[in-house]
Symmetry: C4
Subunit: 360 residues, 4 copies
């Protein structure tokens, strides 16, 4: 699908170059038509498959299909098909028809999940960003009026009307600076210099807002992740949200360098560890075991109150969430209901004689 989207766009773009269009026109049309057919099949398949999506299955097959049709991605998928219908009514090589056919490139956003972070940041900072845009617009109108008053006499042909002055103002404030319209009078240039400093601000202000937004969003996502990490552990599953949050708060983040001995065989155990990032190696016989993000280790020593049963060494730099033995025991006392299930899990694990166990 990604290939179809990219090839379709390339064909549409290259078809506008006369020399290429003459030689390969047929190929371009073929690619465009094939892509349209593929998009149509894809759209039909997605409508058909919508009820199989886990998140929407509870709502029944038709409401799930409707949900897809009305979702932003569903609307984009439909828009990508519009040229197919319109081809019978308008001339296929008109400029605006081409824009319509290129809307298909929006389909590619489906394959970039990190775009959600932008959407979240822009939504959460939308009020401030819109205010910045409004302030810029108000400045823009006043700046244009002033430069028009200053330069109209000196260059009656270039600064012939306010819209011309507004074109200069936006080109300058965005720091683009084509140079097609430039003030020449002394007063116009002094004012132009002030506008350029304003232009720097109009880049710096959204940069500042977005930096703050990304910082807040990522912090939120990370606290969410540690919350989810704890919520996923069999030990703590089925707890109420605030209890999970309380446990997540007991965990402390440690960063250890590569090749560091985190746990030493024979030492008394005083904490258990959840891996957030990086990899550790459990040095057991016959061959060492590697554990990665989401997995945990060191809990056997706490549950059985025995010395560490294996040495564990970091392979890469690791971020570890550490639960101290004291916190672990207090946790059991606070939630007596938890105690029983933990004992059960402990019994089972000790039976397996595994020093570590995957979280999932």
């Amino acid at each position: 699908m990604v290939a179809a989207i990219v090839l379709n766009a390339a064909a549409i773009v290259l078809a506008t170059v006369k020399s290429l269009s003459a030689s390969y026109g047929g190929l371009f049309t073929a690619i465009g038509d094939t892509a349209l057919v593929l998009f149509a099949l894809d759209y039909a398949a997605r409508i058909w498959a919508a009820p199989e999506d886990k998140a929407t299955v509870a709502r029944g097959p038709w409401s799930a299909r409707l949900a897809y049709l009305l979702s932003p991605l569903g609307i984009i998928d439909l828009a990508a098909l519009l040229p197919l219908c319109l081809e019978f009514f308008v001339r296929a090589d008109s400029d605006w028809f081409r824009v319509l056919r290129l809307i298909a490139v929006l389909k590619i956003t489906r394959h970039a999940p990190a775009l959600q972070i932008f959407v979240a940041v822009i939504r959460s900072e939308s009020r401030v960003l819109l205010s910045a845009l409004l302030a810029m617009t108000v400045n823009w109108v006043l700046v244009s009026a002033i430069i028009f008053a200053l330069e109209h006499k000196a260059q009656p042909d270039v600064f012939s009307s306010m819209p011309q002055a507004m074109w200069w103002a936006i080109v300058t404030m965005a720091t683009v600076g084509y140079g097609d319209i430039v003030p020449v009078s002394a007063a116009g240039r002094v004012f132009g210099g002030i506008v350029m400093v304003l232009g720097i601000a109009s880049v710096a202000v959204p940069a500042g807002i977005l930096a703050t937004g990304f910082s807040a969003e990522l912090k939120k996502r990370r606290s969410m992740i540690s919350w989810r990490l704890v919520a996923k552990l069999p030990l703590f599953a089925h707890l109420e949200a605030p209890r999970i949050a309380a446990i997540a708060r007991l965990l402390k983040l440690d960063i250890v360098p590569p090749r560091y001995t985190i746990v030493l065989r024979g030492e008394p155990g005083d904490a258990m560890f959840f891996i957030v990032s990086g990899e550790v190696e459990v040095q057991i016989q016959p061959r060492p075991l590697r554990l990665g993000p989401g997995q945990y280790f060191g809990e056997i020593a706490l549950l059985r109150e025995v010395p560490r049963t294996a040495t564990i060494v970091s392979v890469t730099e690791c971020e570890l969430l550490v639960l101290s033995a004291a916190d672990f025991r207090q946790l059991l006392q606070e939630y007596p209901a938890l105690k029983e299930s933990i004992r059960e899990v402990a019994e089972r694990r000790v039976g397996q004689e595994r020093p570590t166990s995957p979280a999932d």
Copy 2:
């Protein structure tokens, strides 16, 4: 009013285009005059209504009116009326008169409350921003002198005087780059390259300052919001500022994903919750109840020490402030005066048999 401001600005701008001015000149004048009359009426109404504004009512009607007249928005409203008075003295289509008439666009800032955040950031960072501006100015003067020394010989017509060199320097340092004046000698270009890197710094430095400022301002506002949230709750109203702050500090922020069971009917209650953002659904009969930002739930179980009376599920991602049962009880012991009022509220709520209650 917003429509009047926008139409007025559009009419003034388009009236400078000769072709449009010839055909629609009358219409543009009519719009401008109507807008001026509207602004005059608006101004009179605001003066009249000033004493009805809650914040200023205590000061008596005339001091309230004076406060409005001298406020920034009051001065802008007056400035927007100036053309009405000046029309009799100067030619209405002169360039500067147009600037005066466009001042009315500043009135639109009344409708963008988030602009306050900029004002706060710029005020709190003003010393650093002014220093950045000063440093840029000092650099600018020295850079201009050096490029003038380097290029004056090579291009005596283009770099004819220091002001010309200063125009080049500001256009380059602001990364606008019109291209109307460009160094051509080898030494001039080497130095020009260094100036461009300085130019990048002159964008990056204010961006960095503003990012820090926005981050600090938003943090301040958020702590203010949690403070105000607590101050608004009937339970904690009429407390001294530091007590409210102490309670605000006891609250811990949790983020739960959508469709998460926050409270389970029949479970023992160990915390109460205040909603900061998002929505939860209380699953009671006959139809579920939705609670939004500013409302709270889960307090009945703490007050009566009974199991949860209803299951509560998050509808969207929710930010919750959680007050643990232990903190809640300690709070009552610390402030005995609080205890009585809480008992009263508890009695009343239990009588109503409502598991949750709006905060306001």
Copy 3:
């Protein structure tokens, strides 16, 4: 002095404009000469007065003078005098002589103390910034070689040598874009587009580094300020640094909105307050007393264990450092030596019957 510096710079700049130079040449020379004499007097006065500076007095008058001579500001002050000496050797209106005379504008940095923050940020991030500069330089050389290979054939006159290609590359990477050299071949433009995205990165990377640097520097300065605030209080003066830091850590920052009742007459007191920013009004007879940043209030109720003796209301939004009664008492028990001096201060203050007292 600031006026002399600015007038001197203006005279030098305007003297390069032929039309102005013809009419006002004498005036410009007079201003320049007067400024030079003033700078010389200023320099002599500063050398003379150096030993009166408190920070350096301990080192004896001559070492204090030497310290000034070798300080960055001392060197700038000397450099501003160089033209006076050189006038006898070189032609006074040569281009480089003008640069020398404009060095005097650097003297103005003495009057902008916030510039220290930049210096601190740039010094603390210098390793990362230099690495960014190095990476940019390496990119720049390779980019220039590639665009030269791509465009040399198409435009042998414009891209005539590597230095020309390097000029294009720096103009593009700094997003200045004069337009004097522009790629025209298809391959050149594709590569040019990639270079522009690199150019965005070369603006965004230093912006990111500086944002982080400012954030860290300001946090450091704020913790320093709260430390200094505590160190300045007579109550805690003469303590060891870590004790002051420990007390600074006990203080919690509260933000209260304007017109908020912080302390209510007759209520039991449970905290004392240090004002960081904003103003409060102590409502005592016959006329209310205003307290500003650095001052404190609410300590009498803690020392005498009596109810609040006056109502205190915030005038503006206030940032307050709050010391709880419990922390205050624990402090006294921990440091018995403190106890006696506090009792004394208490006795004296109660005798004065002042509910509040300035910190300094």
Copy 4:
């Protein structure tokens, strides 16, 4: 080596300038050839010396050599030699051969260790940055199609094909703005203005992402540094990672101004100090002792429970990690194994009568 790399690059660049090439062609060729030989020797030496590198010695000499050959720096070193081999097959002054010879400038990255921070930031934010790039690309294609539709009629020669429109779009969105292609129609300019605001966003978004990334990376590195500082102390060496992390967490960061008395001779000691940055002076006879980053002081008073034996004053602004006496004693009780080794160290130090001792 750095000189060889820089001279080699300069020779290659200047050899493309016809006037210089005619006069100094032989010199440039000589420099280039010498540099190539030096690079070859350097490469051989590095292969030979690889097994002497501590980090790789455990793996045996040949696997260490292979590790170097396959490392990024090894590949760059090899690439810098390619011209030596190719010289026999292609014409030495061809444009692409020159690019190949300039690859040697990448060798200089070996000498900039702070580049690792970029690599770390870009890797950790790669998903978000790639999404930003994808969003920019999608916008770019649609923007080009729309501007082509708007301007094709007005300027059939300039906006002759979609690729031309795409060139305009990237030049504008990157805020470069050469001015070689500029919209002239009213609709084209209105849309151009919108694209410029998009362009500002395309600078601000990566700036925001990178600011967040640098902030997170530096925080991580700093926590790593305090961890390593503690891990390096003889007192705490040989502890498990989480114990070291626990100790690191007990330490509190204090910042003291220059010339501040941190410890006063004769006072009871209540904390020990580890220097993170800055310098302190121990005022002992006959001449004061200076301590710098990584060293510690004030532990004798804690170990022997005697008053401070020397006054210690900060020379510069210092960042100190403070371990309170209470935490220190609790540490000893928690880890009985530690107790013995501490007593031993204490005995030895008291015997030496040194008030402070370097950490390493």
